[in-house]
Each structure stands twice: as C-alpha cells, then as structure tokens.
C-alpha cells in the first residue's frame, strides 16, 4: 500500500455502558465503510468468541482498520479499537484508550448515563482523548434524546447539542457519525524518523504465527527484520511480519510507522512476554524511555477449579495452559483438596473473568468442573513479622500465629433511581459498606459512593443489586487498597469432618449469619443417605450453626408392572448417574453443585 498521509488517519474507540450498543455501532461503521459486504457481515464482527456474542459483552480488545471516503472527497483510514466492556478488564480498557486519539461516547437514548458511562468517559478524558457523544437507540418508544443530551451536558460537561441521534440497530444516522469521526477525532502525531516506540494494547497467541502483538506506533517505524525489545519484560526478537487488521483477518504490509495501528509477529512463544501496556522499541536504536502507564496486572479473585471426574486432571491442566497462552491475566497453580482431589488454584481479574474462564473450559474443552467459593487475596501479618498473601482459605495459619489481617477494599459507584436509594443503601450496609456520599444526577437519579470490601461483592453483589433495584441500578468499582479487618475462617463440617473446599474467610460479624445460611443451603443440597449427617459451621473449635440431614428411611421400587423392566432400570441408572456426580467426603456423598450453591446466599 502506498504511503499513508498521517493526517488522514483516525484512531478511535467507542465507550459506553454495557448494552448501550457499542458493538452494534462498530458493526455499522465497518459495514458503511465498505470493508465487508453484507453477506460477509456476521452480526457483531468484532466480538469473536461465541461467549462474547451470547453475553453481549466484549472480553478481548478487537481492532479493525477500514477506509472511509468522506464528503470532502478524501479517503481516511479508520482504526477502530473496540475495548472490553467490564470493570474486570479496566486496565486493558485503559491501554486500549491510550492507543487512541479520540473516542465516541454512546449513550442509550432511553436509559441515559449509567455508572459505567461515567467511569469510561472519565477514563477516556484522563487519557486526553477527544470525546464526542452519540445518542443511540432513538428508535425505542421510551427514547428521550432531549433529556439525555441535557444529562450529558450537565453531568459530564460534554457538549452534546449536535450529537448525532442514531439507531445503530436500524442503521439510522451512521453517515453523520462517520463525518464526525473525521471532523472531531484528531490525526495522530509522532514522527516515522524517531526511534521506535509502540504501545502494546493486546496480544493473541496463534499456534502458527506465535504471539501476535496488537500495537499503536507512537514514534518511529517497524518492519520485517527489525530487532524489537519489550521494554518491561526485556524479551527480544526479530520481527517476522507486520500488518493491519482486516475484519477477522490479518493483512501483512511493508511497515508500520508513527500514527498507525497494526500488528507485529516475531516468533514469540508466550503472551507473558508481551504484556499489555508494555512498550516495543528497536533494540538497536531504543527510544529514551517507555510509554507511561504500564503496570503488571494482578489477579484479584482466586478460586479452586477441580475436574468433576478426577481422571480429567491432565485435561484440565492442558486446557488451562492453552487458555493462558491468550490470557496473560490468568494464573494457576496446582493444589490438592481433601474433598475434591487434584485441581488448580486460579487467579482472575474479577468474577466475570472467572466465569468466562470457567465457561470456556466447560464449552471449548468439554470439562465438567467443580468450583470452590471465590476468595480475594488477604494479607496475613504473622506474629513473627512475616506477611502472607492468602489466596486459599485453607492455608490460613493458626489464629495464635496471626497478628492481624487486611482485606482489599474497593471504591464503588452505584447509579440508582431515587426510589431505590433506601434499599440499595441497606444492601451496601449489609455488605459492610462505608458511605462516602451521594450526588444527584437529575431529579430522579443519584450516584451513591461507597467503600466496600471486595470479598463482599465478589459473590453475588451484582445479582443482589439488580434484583433489589428491579434491574435499574448500575455499578462500577475500582481497587482502593488494603485495610485492616476482623476476619475469621469459617469451616464447614459434614459428618464431623472438615470439608476444606467449603472453608472461606469472612468478617467476624457476619460469620454467624453466613454459617447458618450455608448449613441450611447444604442441608437442601445433600441428599439423604443411609445414615444421619450433621452439617456444622465452625469458627475455630466453636460450632456456630448446625443442621441435620436425616437418614434415608425408604428407597424402594414398588411393583414392576407387566414386566416393564427397562423403565425400572432407567430409574436405577439415574440413581447411579446421580452418585457419579457426587464427591465422596469421608463416607458422605456430596453433590458437586453443593460446592457452588453456597456462593449464592442472598435470597431476598
């Protein structure tokens, strides 16, 4: 391809609250700029994984390059970088934003500004992006574009009077958006002559090409044969190929130079070497300093993953290995549980990340999994001065050896309609939230600010929030830090034997309540067996709650009428199948779903 005039490049992303139509607009932009014919166009090109399409969320950053012939007669290169849409992936979002020069803010014409709208738009403004708003879903009967425009101006302080009113779904107003991109998004800066400085905003493992680095060239030029160095990880390799992002395909090119967005391959074997946020430079002619903002991403939430069938342990290990090739933020280490056998302690960015990995393991690798209760990382200060980062509750030292403990705290913002303020405040209180303040967005909506312990929100906070606000509350949070807290380990004893996989850390004030509810839940989940089974919750040696599963009295088939043996055999087979889905703990059989059902304790 001929030299591209830097002034004709537009690097941008779309920011929005979940469900406000980000991916749909991206599809329309691609469609209207003629990159794909309608026939090639599968709904939501950018969401690659089935999971993403099903859940309507973007998990990995996706990028596409397309050419737009504007009304001024010029051809422009659009690089659209679709960012992940969830708080779990905040860091990835921030790096994707750093690769852009501007952003389109989509706001739903009916729902208006939501918690993530705010979080994302502030994130974009923090990165000095030029942001222009677009009002989507004007086709909805409940659309109130006027009100939403006012809201954007009042709350965010962004000029919105001439915001395009569009319906991405029906393809209304897309031309206007395209013209706005040319007009409002600045052309990239940088010089092709300077030493290479490129920002990694994502990477992908391809079994054929090795790691494919997604990057934005800030300064300099990179081409085949350039010896590159990742400044943070120190990895060095020779470039094998550079290119652009077609829709769902990689298009090789001669070189990438300042202002461009594209990919680099260099026979790198591990995505860990190409950390998101790192700077790629020329090893022979390095830039003076790396780009700002790189940080190592740490797992926030841990849980044990075990194969339902113990013999599948090697399969689980292989599957995790493969997933990790593409997901540097997934950590895992082998661990053993008395109840569940061999498995892995896995670290995730958050609960959604956990769920995604779990689902992918089950779907793409056909594994049946047992998951233990997710846990955050606690800091345990021992009396001997040692500090442990605790990811598995079973490893908590004896209380006599603990000086004190700290737990992670997040700052949360909850957007809620005024009628639910009371209920939601109550929920936050129950979850040990500290109220920081409230801002009215408009007469009927408010933004509640809380500090919440992370371990109170990783279980079912989001579900509780939605159900108690009839779906109207939206929620966003970021890590604040660690604070000292009175924490205890709650153990569950089944038939007087401690089940390590059910232990978890809890604040001492909520231990009794949680213990009681867990016993109740387990009583419902554990089927009657040949003997009576006590279920107890204990803190240390003190039993704080108890339930009993009575012994099975009768389990007998009545008549086999008219010699219909097959039907009776099917019943026995079902029983046998049921047993297979049980975990033997001592001499008690515990259904696998019992290990997971205890996570959902909010039944209001």
């Amino acid at each position: 391809m001929a030299q591209i005039d830097q002034s004709k490049i537009r690097n941008f992303c779309i920011v929005a609250h979940i469900d406000h139509g980000k991916s749909t607009l991206a599809d329309r932009i691609i469609e209207k700029t003629g990159l794909l014919t309608n026939r090639e166009m599968q709904a939501q090109v950018l969401d690659n994984m089935d999971l993403e399409r099903e859940r309507g969320i973007t998990i990995k950053a996706q990028t596409v390059r397309t050419i737009y012939k504007a009304k001024d007669g010029e051809e422009y290169v659009f690089n659209l970088i679709d960012t992940p849409g969830h708080v779990d992936f905040n860091y990835e979002v921030s790096r994707s934003l750093a690769a852009c020069d501007g952003a389109i803010l989509i706001v739903d014409a009916a729902q208006g500004i939501e918690a993530q709208t705010l979080a994302n738009v502030y994130l974009a403004l923090d990165h000095n992006l030029d942001v222009f708003p677009v009002i989507n879903k004007i086709d909805l009967p409940s659309a109130e574009p006027k009100r939403v425009i006012e809201e954007i101006e009042d709350v965010i302080g962004l000029e919105a009077k001439d915001a395009p009113l569009i319906s991405a779904k029906n393809g209304v107003g897309i031309e206007e958006v395209l013209e706005k991109i040319v007009e409002k998004i600045p052309a990239p800066g940088g010089s092709p002559e300077n030493p290479l400085q490129a920002l990694i905003f994502d990477s992908l493992y391809d079994s054929y090409k090795g790691v494919i680095i997604f990057c934005r060239i800030m300064e300099g030029t990179v081409k085949k044969g350039t010896k590159i160095r990742m400044m943070a990880t120190g990895a060095e390799e020779e470039v094998v190929e550079v290119g652009y992002f077609g829709a769902g395909q990689f298009l090789p090119t001669e070189e990438l130079s300042a202002g461009m967005v594209g990919y680099i391959t260099a026979s790198i074997k591990n995505v860990k070497d190409t950390a998101v946020g790192d700077t790629v430079t020329d090893a022979d002619r390095p830039c003076a300093e790396p780009l700002p903002g790189y940080k190592k991403v740490n797992s926030m939430v841990y849980c044990g993953l075990y194969p339902a069938d113990g013999a599948k342990y090697p399969d689980l290990r292989d599957a995790l290995e493969k997933l990790q090739l593409n997901d540097a933020s997934l950590n895992y280490e082998p661990e053993t549980s008395i109840a569940l056998g061999f498995g892995f302690r896995c670290g995730f960015l958050g609960l959604l990340h956990l769920e995604i990995i779990q689902e992918r393991l089950e779907r793409e690798y056909n594994l049946d999994l047992v998951t233990t209760a997710p846990s955050v990382i606690y800091k345990v200060y021992r009396t001997n001065g040692e500090v442990i980062e605790l990811t598995n509750p079973s490893n908590l030292p004896d209380p006599s050896e603990i000086d004190y403990m700290e737990e992670p705290i997040v700052s949360a913002e909850i957007m809620v309609t005024t009628e639910f303020i009371g209920t939601i405040m109550e929920l936050c209180q129950e979850r040990r939230g500290v109220y920081l303040g409230m801002e009215y967005m408009e007469a009927t909506r408010a933004l509640l600010k809380y500090e919440l312990p992370l371990n109170e929100i990783i279980y079912d906070f989001f579900d509780a929030l939605k159900s108690r606000s009839r779906g109207y509350a939206s929620f966003d949070y970021e890590m604040k830090g660690y604070e000292q807290s009175e924490l205890v380990k709650l153990d569950i004893l089944i038939n007087r034997e401690e089940v390590d996989a059910l232990s978890f850390i809890v604040h001492k004030d909520t231990a009794y309540e949680r213990g009681r509810r867990m016993c109740e839940r387990l009583k419902d989940e554990i089927p009657r067996q040949l003997f009576e089974i006590p279920i107890q919750a204990a803190v240390g040696s003190k039993i704080i709650a108890r339930e009993t599963v009575k012994a099975m009295r009768k389990d007998v088939l009545a008549k086999c009428y008219g010699g219909d043996i097959t039907r009776k055999k099917k019943l026995l087979e079902k029983q046998k199948e049921g047993k297979k889905r049980m975990r033997q703990v001592g001499n008690v059989e515990i259904p696998q779903k019992a290990f997971m059902s205890v996570l959902k304790l909010d039944d209001k």
């Binding site: 040949l530 009768k554 389990d555 088939l557 009545a558 008549k559 009428y561 055999k569």
Partner: protein, 407 residues
C-alpha cells in the same frame, strides 16, 4: 408326553378402566364401548399374527392385566381367551391369572373366565376403609369387594390374590392393621402389599409431590418427616416416614403369623401359591407381551409394543417393536442382580456361575462386600448353595443396593 421345548409366559394388556385412580400412572384410561371393541379386534389380530413365531414355546403362565381387564364384556373376554387358547401352547397346569376390580365383575364374567381356563384371580382392593378408597379415587367400596370375593370362592377359584396399599392419604397404622385383618379373615392365597409411591403425572403428584424430598430415582417418597400432632386426625396428609415403615413391618409380621411368607419385596403367599408369573419376571424367564404398551423378554431380547392406542388400533395390533434391545452379557448380569435381589431368597452364586460361566466374585466382589459392610446385604448358606439376599434394612433402601450392581 414330555415335550422338550422352550418355555415362556404371556402377558396381555387391557388398557381400560372405569375411572383412573388418583395414584395411577399405568397405561390405562376410560374408553368408549366402540373403542374397546376395536381394541379387542386388534388384539385378537395380534395374537393370530404372532402365533407362528411362538409355536416353539410352551406357555407356563398367563397374566391378563390392565387397567381393568374386567371392564371388557363377557363376550369380548371369551373371544380373547378363546383365541389365546387356540394360538398358543398353554400348558395344562399353567398359572392363568386375570386382574379384576370390584364393581366391574359379576358372576357371569367369572364363570366365563373359568370356562376358558383362568385359575387365578388378582383383585384390586387396596384398602378395607371406604374413606381411604374414596380418596384413592377407587370406584368400589369394601362391601362390593366382599361380594366379588365371595362369588369367586363360590365359583371355585382356589387361588386368589388381593392387592393392598400402605402409606395412603389419611391412613393410620391402626386403619391399615384393620385392613390387613379384614383381608386375612378371607384367607386369600396371595397378597401384594405396596407402599404408595407418588408418581409424576398423577393427581397425587400435584397434591403431594410438591415440596417433597426427591429420592434420586425420579420417583418420590412423599412421606412427611414429622406428623402434626392432631388427635384422631382425619387430615389427608400422607403418613410420616416412620409410620409408613411401621406399616410395612406390620405387614410382614402379621402376615407371617397367619402363615404367609414374603417371597418378594412386596409379595406374600401361602406356601405353594407364590405367583409363578411374577417370579418369572425376577428370574428373567421369557415372556411375550401382547396388547398396548406391553413389554416382552424373549431369549435376552427386550422390546415394547406400541403405546399409543389410536396407532395400535389403526395398525390392527401389528406395530413396530419399540425400544428393542438385545441384552449384552453385562446387561444380563445387571438384571440378574437387581431383579434377583427382589426375591427374598436372593440370588444364588451357583446360578450366576452356571448362567454366565464366571464366578460372581470376579464381577461383583466390590458391591457385594460394600453391601454386606453396610448391613444391606447378607450371604446365606441354603441347601448347599450360597445365596446373596437383602437384609431388612436392605429391603427399605433396595434402590441404593441395586444401583451398585449397574456397570
């Protein structure tokens, strides 16, 4: 003449009744006279069409069940029985049972059955308490049953079974004991005593199925854990678990005192009157099912007949075999165990060896040892043979034991 040939039993299904009982999930429903006649014709046609295939088999027992076979008219039943006698080689001393319900039989019908070789009656009584009968949705009273029973005796039926049920809505241990006593006074040769199981798809499921404990086998044991303390309660709840089990134990004890022994989980007989037909099911003898939805086992091949009435009638009784399967050796072993264990005698190690040419311990050592350790199974030496049978506790939870013998 000693005729050396293969042996089988015949089961004939009559899927009609006057009114469907509240607990019933069998293939049966009320039908018009016209439909019944069409069915009888299709069934006769089926018997005739299949006669050639089964000429090599001698019939050691016949069971005409339902539904309520006695809802058919005397003439219809005579045609059926006559055809059967013509088409199949029924042994002279075969056990020949018809299932009847009080309220649907009279002297004339019973006479006709007898003329066609019927020598055993199975009467559905369920309870001697009219209130309990009413709640079950039965169409008869205890007095009507008495009349039927006495008529049968007068006509010379010397082998009669009575069906009873325990664990019924509103039933107390006392009322059940009275049922047993009233029935025993009649000195039947055979008793079937079932404990009610609430099956999905029945009116009882809607009444008692909700909120009850799932027992893992798809059926539910619906007895409440604790019984509310109301004196002389006429409440319609099901007896609690303990009462239910006591009723079961009462059955065993009271019947034993009167000279009946339990030979199968739910069946009792005076010596020599054990049902040969039913025992055949547990011992995996051959049986041919005729009529709607009936099951067959012939030479280790199982199948079922068409179960949609309209389809059966339209195809004049000649339908494709359903769910046909030839049992593998493993499946035969499974059946040998879980069916054989229903018999109180249990299964004989020697018989297993003879049948499969493998010692049982090579196949089933683990579940046998487990069952014995848990007190659910026991080994007994009897007549020079080692038998494996259920203990009392093993009977109560026999599904748990039996499912261990599936591969």
């Amino acid at each position: 003449m000693e005729n050396i040939g293969k042996i089988m039993s015949l089961y004939v299904h009559i899927p009609f009744c006057v009114r469907k009982c509240n607990y019933c999930d069998f293939l049966s429903s009320p039908a018009s006279e016209e439909m019944k006649e069409q069915y009888v014709q299709a069934l006769i046609h089926e018997m005739e069409e299949k006669r050639e295939i089964y000429q090599a088999y001698q019939v050691e027992s016949v069971f005409i069940g339902g539904g309520t076979p006695s809802t058919l008219s005397t003439e219809q039943m005579s045609r059926l029985l006559g055809t059967m006698q013509n088409c199949y080689r029924i042994l002279r001393d075969a056990e020949f049972t018809v299932e009847i319900n009080p309220g649907t039989v009279d002297r004339e019908k019973l006479v006709a059955y007898k003329t066609h070789g019927v020598n055993r009656l199975s009467i559905g009584l369920q309870s001697a308490d009219d209130g309990e009968l009413c709640r079950l949705g039965r169409i008869h009273t205890f007095d009507e049953f008495m009349e039927t029973f006495q008529t049968a005796r007068e006509l010379g039926y010397e082998n009669i079974n009575i069906d009873l049920m325990s664990g019924l809505p509103g039933q107390s241990r006392e009322s059940y004991r009275q049922t047993l006593e009233k029935v025993l006074a009649l000195k039947p040769e055979h008793l079937s005593a079932y404990s009610l199981i609430v099956e999905e798809g029945t009116p009882f499921w809607d009444l008692y199925g909700e909120g009850s404990q799932e027992n893992g086998s798809g059926e539910r044991n619906i007895h409440t854990e604790e019984k509310p303390d109301t004196e002389e309660s006429h409440d319609l709840s099901l007896p609690d678990e303990d009462t239910d089990r006591m009723m079961y134990e009462d059955t065993d004890r009271i019947l034993a005192e009167q000279g009946y022994h339990r030979y199968e989980i739910s069946n009792y007989a005076r010596t020599g009157y054990e049902s040969r037909h039913n025992t055949g099911y547990w011992k995996r003898h051959n049986y041919l099912g005729l009529g709607l939805g009936s099951s067959s086992l012939i030479d280790n091949c199982r199948w079922k007949n068409e179960s949609v009435l309209a389809a059966y009638v339209n195809q004049n009784g000649i339908c494709e075999k359903k769910e046909q399967e030839t049992l593998t050796t493993q499946e035969q072993m499974e059946e040998f165990m879980f069916l054989g264990l229903r018999l109180m005698r249990g299964i004989s190690y020697q018989e297993f060896d003879n049948y499969f040419h493998r010692p049982i311990m090579e196949v089933y050592a683990a579940p046998i040892q487990k069952g014995i350790a848990e007190g659910l199974l026991m080994e007994v030496e009897e007549g020079g043979e080692t038998c494996l049978r259920l203990t009392k506790r093993g009977i109560d939870v026999s599904n748990v034991v039996m499912s261990d013998f599936l591969f």
